[in-house]
């Protein structure tokens, strides 16, 4: 009898535990990171008696959570990857939107600028058209400035997000270390039973951590976990945790470097080693997409400045003086590493804008020579002690460097913000060409100089008018041509018999001008080239300026201004599209991993309802046994009455 009561009691107590656990599961159906718990029953040891072992009831062996460490790892890894691409595609999408606005954007402004140049060429001496040209040029400059400001503010946003991420990561690392400690003591106190809810809490923290940064988690025999980030830098070891922090960029103070503290307050940068998580998404976007967009927009600004100025300087303004800079020159930058210990100074200048690439170069001193590494292609050149001319840049560096000193050569990184219109007066717009040709009416023949186009300003203005005098024997008997006198001397072979349709010759001493001669001169006829002293109605340089629009001037003379901008827009578009696709794929993988884990660990209410019934019935049955035992006892008692 006592045995029956004992067995019944064990059943009641165990079923209470089971019902409590079921209730715990139901209560936590919406708790993030909760793993359902199950009670493992086991029969109590039977007492030996005559005729065999009589059962002794039931007891709880343990309460375990449904969890699989491998599925947990998979979820963390896929979460890191998904967050990485999600953040990257989010940021790329913003950049995409920024470049997308078609009306009033940079592309439209280029069109308007060149339209206004053509309007000037239609009416070169009129002030209103020149005023419009200046206005459109200023509007273009503003577009570029604003674009660069917008790009810079994306960098600021990234910094703010990095800052909060670092704080989150540090908080989580601290918590994990704390829980590691708790788990250890809880387990010891419970005689080795698993502290399920603490474990869930820690796994949730690890899961949250993986959203920010990719982690490697290893479990120790005492139940604590170690966390490694980057290329194996420890973030948490047992109950000890390290802190992430942000430091200034080596070459650019606002391009934050992610650092991790190591023993004795020593921080090492891990920016490039961060793999996975929102942090990698941000860093990769900043260092790849955003940076290359800024390089390209900057190079475009520098390119417009250099090439437009070059043509503008070949012309004459309304007062007849040679054109000056239209846009203010933009100098490339050699940024020095703030950790440099030497006294050397690096300089960089543009030698040929057509060859300049939208990339940075790292200049590194190895103790004997400087090494120049293209940051996009990774190509390294040993340049000795310099200087060197490479990719349209002339790079030089003075003596005094120590080993490890370095510079970042930035041809155009922030150029778009330095883009300015230099001229302020409409009369300074050089719409005219510097030389003018004429044929006196006293000529017997009809030879003319159809056009004269200077390639530089060598020898311009000419000291004296250049006279071309025709003779059938200018270059010796039977060799017809022109003899030059005045500001430039020499001879030009010209045979009216078969060159009267037009012959182009170049005068190196006269601005490298190319002359187009045509017609049949009579002996002694002269042609004159003079300075264009009062050419307000001359639109030749304006026409050439407008011709820049369709000329391949940048990126190895392959891209016009607008083509280069279009390629920037399309590159960002392609990257955004790829990132979006990757983000979708990764998020599907994450969802699958989540599903796998949930399928194992998640609470199913129907299942719990069934369990509730099962344990309730078992409880009722066991309670009935108590009644039965009671009845049995009463029966026995009544037998003695």
């Amino acid at each position: 009898m006592p045995n029956v009561l004992n067995v019944a009691t064990s059943g009641l107590l165990t079923m209470q535990k089971a019902l409590a656990t079921t209730g715990h599961n139901i209560a936590n159906v919406s708790t993030e990171g909760y793993s359902r718990q199950t009670v493992t029953f086991e029969s109590r040891e039977a007492g030996a008696g005559s005729g065999g072992f009589v059962g002794n009831g039931v007891r709880t062996a343990t309460i375990v959570r449904a969890y699989d460490a491998f599925l947990g790892k998979e979820l963390r890894d896929t979460t890191s990857a998904a967050k990485h691409f999600e953040v990257f595609s989010q940021m790329a999408g913003k950049l995409d939107d920024l470049l997308a606005e078609q009306d009033g954007g940079v592309a439209t402004q280029f069109e308007r600028l060149f339209s206004s140049i053509q309007d000037v060429s239609n009416n070169p001496s009129a002030t209103p058209e020149r005023q419009v040209l200046l206005g459109e040029a200023r509007a273009l400059v503003t577009q570029f400035n604003q674009l660069d400001t917008a790009l810079a503010s994306m960098n600021d946003q990234i910094n703010v997000r990095l800052e909060s991420m670092v704080q989150e990561i540090n908080a989580i690392a601290k918590n994990v270390a704390l829980i590691n400690d708790k788990i250890d003591s809880a387990r010891a106190a419970a005689g080795g039973q698993p502290p399920n809810d603490l474990l869930d809490k820690r796994d949730l923290l690890l899961q949250q951590l993986s959203e920010y940064i990719g982690v490697t988690v290893t479990e120790q025999s005492n139940g604590a976990v170690n966390i490694l980030v980057g290329t194996g830098q420890p973030l948490v070891v047992g109950t000890r945790f390290e802190s992430l922090s942000l430091g200034p960029g080596r070459y650019d103070p606002v391009a934050f470097e992610v650092e991790i503290e190591q023993a004795a307050g020593n921080s090492v940068p891990i920016t490039e080693a961060v793999s996975g998580g929102a942090m990698q998404g941000l860093l990769r976007f900043r260092d790849e997409t955003l940076s290359s967009a800024r390089h390209e927009v900057g190079l475009l600004a520098t390119g417009v400045t250099e090439t437009f100025n070059a043509q503008h300087k070949l012309g004459l303004d309304l007062s007849g003086t040679a054109g000056g800079n239209f846009f203010a020159p933009i100098a490339p930058v050699a940024a020095s590493d703030y950790q440099n210990t030497g006294t050397s100074v690096a300089t960089v200048s543009i030698s040929n804008i057509a060859e300049v690439q939208p990339t940075d170069y790292k200049l590194y001193y190895n103790g004997t020579a400087w090494q120049l590494t293209n940051q996009t292609s990774g190509e390294t050149n040993n340049i000795g002690l310099g200087p060197i001319t490479i990719d349209g840049l002339t790079i030089g560096v003075t003596a005094g460097a120590n080993i490890g000193d370095s510079y970042l050569i930035r041809p155009a990184y922030r150029a778009a913000s330095a883009f300015r219109v230099e001229i302020t007066q409409t009369s300074k717009i050089a719409a005219a060409a510097p030389l003018v040709a004429s044929a006196p009416i006293t000529n017997q023949g009809d030879a003319t100089i159809n056009s004269i186009e200077n390639a530089n300003m060598t020898g311009i203005p000419v000291a004296a008018d250049v006279t071309l005098t025709y003779s059938a024997s200018a270059l010796g008997a039977g060799q017809p041509g022109f003899t030059l006198s005045g500001g430039v001397t020499g001879t030009i072979a010209y045979d009216p018999a078969n060159e009267s349709g037009g012959k182009t010759v170049t005068l190196a001493n006269l601005g490298g001008s190319s002359l187009q001669l045509a017609g049949v001169p009579a002996e002694g006829d002269v042609l004159t080239i003079a300075n264009n002293t009062s050419g307000g109605g001359d639109n030749r340089n304006a026409l050439r300026l407008s011709g820049l629009q369709s000329t391949g001037l940048l990126l190895n003379s392959a891209a016009s201004y607008q083509a280069m901008y279009a390629s920037t827009v399309s590159a960002v578009g392609i990257q955004t599209r790829q990132a979006t696709t990757s983000a979708e794929t990764q998020s599907t993988l994450q969802a699958q991993a989540n599903q796998s884990l949930n399928s194992l660990a998640g609470v199913n209410l129907d299942e719990e309802a069934a369990n509730l019934l099962k344990f309730q019935q078992a409880y009722q049955a066991t309670a009935q046994m108590v009644a039965t035992a009671n009845e049995m006892f009463n029966t026995l008692l009544s037998a003695f009455r």
Partner: protein
Amino acid sequence: MRISSIEQFQQGIDSILNQQAKLNQTQLQLATGKKVLKPSDDPAVATQLLNLSSLKANNLQYDRNINTALNELELQESVLASSGNVLQRVRELVIQANNATQSPQTREAIADEISNLANELLQLANTKSPSGEYIFAGYNSRTPAFAKSGADFVYQGDQGQRLLQVSEDTQLAVRDNGADVFQGMSTGDGRFLLETPASNTGDGLVKMSSTIDAISDNYTITFIQANPGDPLLYSVSGEDVGAVATGTFAAGEAINFNGISIEIDGTLENGDSYQINRSVRQDVFQSVQAIANALLAGTETGAKSSKLANDLGQSISTMDQALEHLQSRRTIVGNRLQALDTRASENADGLVRLERQTSELNDLDFAEAVSRLNLQTTALQAAQQSYIKIQGLSLFNYLR
């Protein structure tokens, strides 16, 4: 497979959110009527669209340039036409003046009118564009093209020619300089010009003809009669080559030398001479003014009147040359206007083509988009309904 309750809930929500995102994109497309809303929607098309928009802007600019060119050329054309009319009137007046019935007074009146016409011509050559530029002054367009300096007319411009960009690869000349237009014409008949010295005492009327295109020298024919009654001898000498021909002059008989043939009517006197000079280029104002001057000088009879007749005869030739020259300039302008018409229609076609390409690339197929919208709406409704249905299923409903 075991499904956890939270998973079931999450999946329902996710699929609803997903359908909403798709619906949103379609709705944006319908609202803007465009397929590509941002570059990442289709980077290749986005680049093409940027390119097309730049070509369109250029096209519109060329349209404006063509209009400017049209105005310029039409202005030049009308000035050339008016100048032609003026010269035509001068020519008529010369013919009228070259008539024996004219008295010195009537000639003076004619000379007066011709003088006025010379001034009218000068004003035409100094025509200004609406923006205040002298259209025939070359690049020096803020200074009048021609000015009168004493008895002469001076060209103050240069020989620049203004070109305009009328298509991607065509620059068209819209302004010609005055040196070419008003100074490029030859004197005489384009080959030679007869000059009658004022010192002649006879009243020979000269008729000339030639079989050659150009003469190579300036010639002088001198008539010598040693004693009255002797035969009248002539000698021809060239400025460069010296003596060319000699002979005895017979009235009504031609003197021939070096491809030139001269007949002289009337009476010649000892010492009379004529010069046959190569044609040179001379500005048209000078030529017209010279006629007026000749008319004013030649108001007497006899030798003077035959000189006047000879000179006016030459003037008619000169006017013919000038008219021909202006006509040829007008033809060139006409050709340019025609070329411009072609450009304008090509440009208009180009714009239509660019618009069509843009539309093909970026215009939304509304039928397709609307049916897509319907499909997505249905899918969203299905997702919402199934969510409600599934969430309603629970064993707890039956635990009472």
